[in-house]
């Protein structure tokens, strides 16, 4: 519900606004927005109209129907006077007792609070004196513990309000940016460096300690939990004004961090997988094979040349996953970092893991690392949300039910549509992932052979995508007599990379419209919903055909 980047108030905010319950500033913001936005003014008018109807209903219906009190209202003054008399007549002891009871009842509310406050004050006093020392000591121990651990790499996720990226960090990883890191990470790196916070290994006690040590004025807080310590440092100086580091209680390993910068940028860093000891990592191609135990770290130290994994290596891995169908929903991530391609996944079944390992075993410069943890809530939106038909049906759904011959058949029909929607959405996600792995600059470095392989994978996805869009169009066409409108013509300009995001957005819009049409969501319910859905499907088909044409020509 956004046009030209406008952020419309929610209907809850509008109701709060109408009722005068918004804070002054928020109220001014809404008022300012309403002056500019016709759509929200209409929304507001509808809320006010509903409120007027409520008032009218009460006046016309309820007030007229609610019975009058069976007796005239009593004269309250004599009753109040009687209360006075009763109170006056009471024995002095009774009044004292009442007063004591009142006093007794009230302290039961505030005495515990007072005790708690005193305890908190004592605790705060103690913590205010101790944390600075404790923090320095804790960090010193954590740095020592990190130094004593075997050298290795690990995967971390960095999230900001607008982006997230996954990085491989550790001593084996060169400072140069990996292919999986987007160009936008440059801005973050600059921010980290300006704050004197290590970008090379930001989720570490060492980085935190280095930043903290150079602060002239700082305030520390330490929270101790059974399984972790949380260190929170606030300062007025520098670009980074607040930082939190969570350390595992068992081994003092940094597992989570939050950084609040002066420009209000909030960065959350979390560990994605365990440390990969150097010895577990494969020896990169190009290293002397006489000593298979020699790690690439050793090779770097010895000054031996290290062959870096290429986009071709990454593509070869993706091709294997594609042939296994593991690029269509399995929570598998492929990252090219350092000298290798890292294939990782969380919550993959044992059989599937073995299948993937077997196929990738022969490949050099590839590390496979699956975690047994259940899949976390995906931060990106690659997994299509599960849609189910809700129990409520509006007039549109009722009409479709009628055409299909009943509720049961309608539900069966909706399930079929959602299945094909899921299928084309999974292809859209796969194409998007390919575009993220192989932007124009990377593709230009690839060999002709690799580019052909990449084109073949794209072709496969887009063919299946079109197939499922066509099935959906037929399914919807069987229950709606609507002609698509505003369908754009084919054009073959631009790169396949440039066509990917519009295709993805068009697919997601169509998915939303289909969900609304079939009664699974109320996001876009409107009279012209059938026409919009049919047109959206037709536009999606044209968009996909454009993609196919451009992809084939490159």
């Amino acid at each position: 519900m956004s046009s030209f980047g406008m952020r419309h108030p929610t209907d809850e905010q509008l109701l709060y606004f109408v009722d005068g319950e918004l804070a002054v500033r928020a109220g001014e913001n809404v008022r300012g927005h309403l002056q500019a936005c016709w759509e929200c003014r209409q929304e507001l008018e509808e809320i006010e109209h509903t409120i007027r109807e409520c008032v009218r209903y009460r006046r016309v219906v309820l007030d007229a129907c609610v019975p009058s009190p069976p007796q005239p209202w009593f004269d309250i003054y004599p009753r109040l006077a009687r209360i006075d008399e009763m109170q006056a007549r009471r024995h002095f002891a009774a009044r004292v007792w009442e007063w004591l009871a009142t006093v007794w009842h009230r302290p039961r509310q505030w005495v515990p609070a007072i005790i708690a406050l005193v305890l908190i004050a004592l605790l705060v006093q103690q913590l205010r004196q101790a944390p600075a020392v404790q923090a320095a000591e804790l960090l010193r121990k954590a740095v020592a513990a990190a130094d004593s651990r075997p050298l290795g790499t690990r995967r971390i996720r960095i999230r900001t309000r607008t982006q997230h990226l996954t990085r491989i960090v550790g001593p084996r990883v060169p400072a140069a940016r990996t292919s999986s890191e987007s160009e936008s990470s440059t801005r973050l790196e600059t921010l980290f460096r300006a704050a004197n916070y290590s970008w090379d290994d930001p989720l570490s006690a060492k980085a935190f300690a280095s930043w903290r040590d150079q602060l002239a004025i700082k305030h520390d807080e330490i929270t101790v939990a059974p399984d972790h310590y949380r260190l929170h440092t606030v300062t007025d100086s520098g670009e980074l004004v607040e930082a939190t580091l969570k350390l595992n209680a068992a081994d003092l390993r940094a597992v989570e961090g939050t950084l609040q910068f002066r420009n209000h940028e909030l960065v959350e860093i979390s560990e994605l997988s365990e440390v990969l000891p150097s010895a577990d990592l494969p020896v990169p191609r190009g290293l002397p094979s006489a000593d298979p135990a020699l790690s690439s770290q050793d090779a770097v130290r010895a000054g031996s040349p290290v062959v870096q994994a290429t986009p071709g290596d990454e593509l070869a891995v993706l091709a294997v996953l594609h042939n296994l169908g593991a690029d269509l929903g399995d929570p598998i991530e492929v990252i090219r970092a350092g000298g290798e391609v890292l294939v990782s996944g969380i919550g993959i079944g044992d059989a599937r893991q073995e299948q993937i390992r077997q196929q990738l075993r022969a490949m050099t410069r590839v590390t496979v690392h699956f975690s047994a943890d259940p899949p976390a809530q995906a931060a990106d939106d690659r997994t299509p949300s599960r849609i189910s038909v809700g129990p409520g049906t509006g007039p549109l759904q009722a009409e479709m039910e009628r055409r299909l011959g009943g509720r049961a058949l309608f539900e069966q029909f909706a399930d079929q549509v959602f299945d094909t929607t899921d299928r084309f959405m999974s292809r859209a996600h796969a194409l998007r992932r390919i575009e993220q792995h192989f932007p124009v600059a990377i593709e230009e470095q690839m060999t002709a052979e690799d580019r052909t392989l990449l084109a073949r994978i794209r072709e496969d996805h887009i063919e299946k995508f079109l197939e499922n869009v066509a099935i959906t169009e037929r399914q919807i066409g069987s229950v709606l007599d609507t002609t698509p409108q505003g369908v754009p013509s084919l054009s073959a300009a631009g790169s396949w990379q440039g066509q990917t995001e519009p295709l993805f957005i068009a697919a997601r819009n169509t998915e939303s419209l289909l969900a609304a049409l079939l009664g699974s969501s109320t996001d876009q319910v409107a009279a012209d919903l059938p026409a919009k859905t049919v047109s959206s499907l037709a536009q999606l088909r044209v968009c996909a055909e454009n993609y196919r044409r451009i992809s084939a020509s490159q």
């Binding site: 209907d11 809850e12 109701l15 709060y16 009722d19 319950e21 509808e46 809320i47 109209h49 509903t50 409120i51 109807e53 409520c54 008032v55 209903y57 009460r58 016309v60 219906v61 309820l62 007229a64 129907c65 609610v66 019975p67 009058s68 009190p69 069976p70 007796q71 209202w73 009593f74 309250i76 003054y77 009753r79 109040l80 006077a81 209360i83 006075d84 109170q87 009442e98 009142t102």
Partner: protein
């Protein structure tokens, strides 16, 4: 003529009478303003009219007694409705054998004074709106009733023992449900 001590006693008694009178006036004024709304509200909680009236009157006597005991009551309006709410639920619980009051509204939509065709349309609209009102959940309906009585969100929250944001959410959902009926 009067000794100093007698004069002091008289002045104290007058001051006390004046204080009492002021407090009585305040409660009596509040009773005047709020009794119909409170009566209507406790009826909506399922009390029969005689019990509803008795409960309403009782609440204001309790308010006076509480004020006399110097209990800290920051918002008298909210206090009255909260006590009425609790008292009504207690009374209702003791009278489970009785069926609660339910105005048979559908059979009693009043004559709107319009011509027959307009009157029919108007009755149809009211009927639809009534149906939508009936479809609200208990909490939505209570929040709406109290809002219609002029209570603010924090006051409603204190009456129902929920948070002000929950009040906002119940009202929002109620408005969403009623909106369709209001626009037909």
């Amino acid at each position: 003529m009067f000794s100093d001590s007698l004069l002091e006693k008289l002045t104290g008694a007058l001051a006390s009478a004046e204080t009492r009178s002021l407090l009585q006036d305040e409660v009596a004024q509040l009773f005047e303003q709020m009794r119909d709304g409170v009566f209507r509200y406790v009826l909506s909680l399922g009390l029969r009219p005689p019990q509803a009236q008795e409960t309403t009157q009782e609440v204001f006597l309790r308010l006076y007694a509480a004020l006399k005991r110097s209990e800290p009551i920051q918002n008298r309006r909210a206090w009255v409705v909260r006590v009425a709410h609790n008292l009504a639920l207690k009374v209702r619980a003791q009278q489970t054998a009785q069926s609660p009051f339910a105005a048979e509204l559908e059979a009693r939509f009043p004559d709107t004074g319009l011509n027959p065709e307009q009157g029919l349309l108007e009755r149809e609209r009211l009927h639809l709106f009534h149906r939508a009102m009936e479809s609200l959940s208990t909490q939505q309906r209570r929040c709406l009733d109290l809002r219609l009585e002029g209570l603010r969100y924090p006051e409603i929250a204190s009456v129902l023992g929920i948070s002000p944001s929950a009040v906002g959410e119940f009202l929002r959902r109620a408005i969403v449900r009623l909106r369709k009926a209001a626009h037909e």
